[in-house]
Assembly symmetry: C2
Homo-oligomer: 137 residues x 2
DNA sequence: ATTCTACATTATAATAGTTCTAAACTGTTG
DNA sequence: CAACAGTTTAGAACTATTATAATGTAGAAT
């Protein structure tokens, strides 16, 4: 509950009303040194640890989608039974450990830029995402 | 309904009993020149077009998972409300058109090999998959 | 400050994809 | 052919997510 004015400004400037639920979720998602990955379920757990006032599940979904739309979160393409989100919105790719079901960033310096030498007429590239699946050696 | 003995052998040799349901699904998935992408729902529709004896939804799921496990199908990592499968099990990447919700192969010759210059200790790379999201230009 | 209004939150219901269950069925082996 | 393990099946159950509609609230206008 340090300095929320930053989040309030951020929310307001992107056209989102700074409600106490959104501010709390900002604190949980963005008050850390390190970025991290989470599912909605993870986030709900973090929220209930962090506060006594519970936030409705619908609001959690709404907020995560709103933040994704505003570019504060990225969704990671992975086939899983649930969606994964990333607080690291800079360009980078992922390792996915199928044994531990663990998702890790790959430092962008460790991936050669992916060149796609073909295009689809009338379409432009929106993103290029690499998922490296790993397993026990 | 051409020559099923091929599928029967294939199934038997991978430890799957060649039931009429599995053979029918093999015909639908593998009797084509071109490989293709499908969801479970797509497959169910194809089946009901192709045969009068309906196959239970549970069997479709079971069979697709069995075929995936045996390496006859690949699942494509994409966040969608449903799972996408690919009868093309060779190495290649995908375009995903978010407007049309259309998934397309990228010819492997059109993608520079993706170099990952880092490793996770104790893990080996199982696959490297590139998903190129496109949108209306 | 009070009122107004559009935006947010909420509990709950609804939906959709997928998995589970347990009974009936069938391919294979002896 | 008998026996058994693997398979299919319908339907129930489960899970993640979205929709609904009533209530609440932030910010602007008065």
């Amino acid at each position: 509950m340090l300095n929320n004015s930053h989040y309030i400004d951020k929310l307001r400037s992107s056209g989102l009303r700074p409600t106490k639920q959104r501010i709390k979720i900002c604190e949980i998602l963005f008050n850390t040194e390190k970025t991290f990955h989470f599912t909605i379920n993870d986030l709900v757990k973090k929220i209930s640890k962090a506060t006594n006032d519970k936030i409705s599940l619908a609001t959690v979904y709404n907020t995560v989608h709103a933040f994704k739309k505003k570019g504060y979160l990225k969704e990671i393409p992975i086939n899983s039974d649930q969606s994964y989100f990333d607080t690291n919105t800079s360009h980078h790719h992922h390792f996915y450990d199928e044994n531990q079901k663990d998702l890790m960033d790959i430092d962008d310096a460790d991936v050669e830029p992916v060149k796609i030498n073909t295009r689809i007429p009338g379409k432009k590239i929106k993103s290029v995402e690499v998922l490296v699946k790993v397993e026990d050696a």
